[in-house]
Amino acid sequence: MLGDDEDNFDLPLNETHSDDVLTLDLDGWEGPLDLLLTLARAQKVDLAKISILALTEQYIAFIERARALKLEIAADYLVMAAWLAYLKSCLLLPKDPTVDPSPEELALRLQLRLQRLQAMREAGARLMGRDRLGRDVFGRGNPEGLKVIRKAAWDASLYELIAAYGMVQARGDEPVHIVQRRPVMTLDQAIERVSRMVGAVIDWTSLEAFLPIEATGDYRRSALASSFVAALELARQGRVALMQETAFAPLMLRSAA
């Protein structure tokens, strides 16, 4: 029923539904651009020379016919039809320089899009037509394969070995908790030490002089702090006198006796 139509293209028919309803297989196209390209190619001219106006008319006619057949048409096809109808009217109307973009520009852009889609369609076809591995040319059917056998070079050191044995043995022992001595001088030790030493000096003597000579590091800091507190305690008991000339100056001690 469509064959005698004067248009130079055919609606693709889905023949499986032919008994009662004529089905227009719009699924045959991947969107309006695809349909437009199909119509454009029917003009049988170079896409660069295609008549966008004629193409527009064909597309609109196609969609109108599909609607007349009460076919469901996807929204994007209708949007394209509306846009093309607008483009067509612009192209036909006298040129209005205030319209931007101009209809010629829109038409050119559409043409460029069609050319690009067509170029990729042809490229895809040429790609698929190449001598393809597994279809036209073949790799070795049954390759031996290159196998790398990973052999573990087990590694362990003697230290790890004996440390591990130590750990195994230690595991059997009852855990014993030993609190390690920390390097501190207790307050009692400091009081005892300062009170003993202060009796032996006559003149004012710096607190540092009361620290053990061998004391270094944490132990010296601990001894200094404890000795300072010891000095305060001994002063409170009236056993030593303290003197400091200015802030941060050396703290001087003397027996109060």
């Binding site: 651009l33 050119l108 460029l112 889609l117 990729m120 490229a123 895809g124 591995l133």
Partner: protein, 201 residues
């Protein structure tokens, strides 16, 4: 077969023959245990030229395959490899000719959205791969082809894509906007020759 098969050539031959896939010179050297291949690969390829089996380079990797003119003998017993949908073919072509390219750019050329399965099929076939993101708003993921793509379609490199030089020269790989500007410029100033045109790589 030839005068004196030298040891390196024999080793390369054996390794490529036994390998389950194409090999780069670096992989070959590691398998054979040598520090350099010299011109052994092209020499070996030359030895096989015109035979029923050929040594070919695809994207820097080498493999043996049957000569293409013998396809009629071998194809008979084989099933057609995966058949791509038209959407799949076009999408693959767009990625190959434009890479790296985003999904939106593919859709702009095809005029339709890509259904999810299309890229999946191409990814699964090992012909395309994600290739970073474009540093534009949205940071879209980009796609490019893989060495397996070149291997499967018998391409030495992307330069061997059918007609790519012509398409490039005709500006058909440029986006519409760029092509449009180009035309406008040529209209205004026919002598114009923008040095920045056409190249999309």
């Amino acid at each position: 077969m030839i005068g004196e098969p030298d040891d390196l050539l024999r080793a390369i031959e054996a390794a490529l023959f036994a390998a389950e896939g194409p090999m780069s010179p670096a992989e070959l050297m590691s398998v054979i245990g040598t520090d350099g291949l010299g011109d052994a690969l092209p020499r070996l390829a030359a030895l096989y030229a015109g035979r029923g089996i050929e040594l070919v380079e695809r994207g820097g990797r080498w493999h043996f395959q049957t000569a293409s003119d013998l396809a009629h003998i071998l194809r008979r017993t084989r099933e057609e490899p995966r058949k791509l949908s038209r959407a799949g073919i076009e999408t693959l072509a767009i990625i190959a000719y434009h890479e790296p390219v985003s999904r939106a750019e593919i859709e702009a050329i095809r005029g339709v959205q890509i259904s999810k399965g299309t890229l999946d099929v191409l990814l699964e076939a090992g012909w395309i791969r994600p290739a970073g993101r474009r540093e534009t708003p949205g940071r879209p993921l980009l796609y490019a082809t893989t060495p397996s793509f070149l291997t499967h379609f018998g391409l030495g490199s992307r330069k061997d894509l059918p007609g790519i030089a012509d398409l490039k020269a005709a500006g058909l790989l440029d986006p519409v906007d760029l092509a449009f500007e180009q035309i406008q410029m040529e209209k205004g100033d026919t002598g114009s020759d923008d040095p920045d045109d056409g190249e999309d790589e």
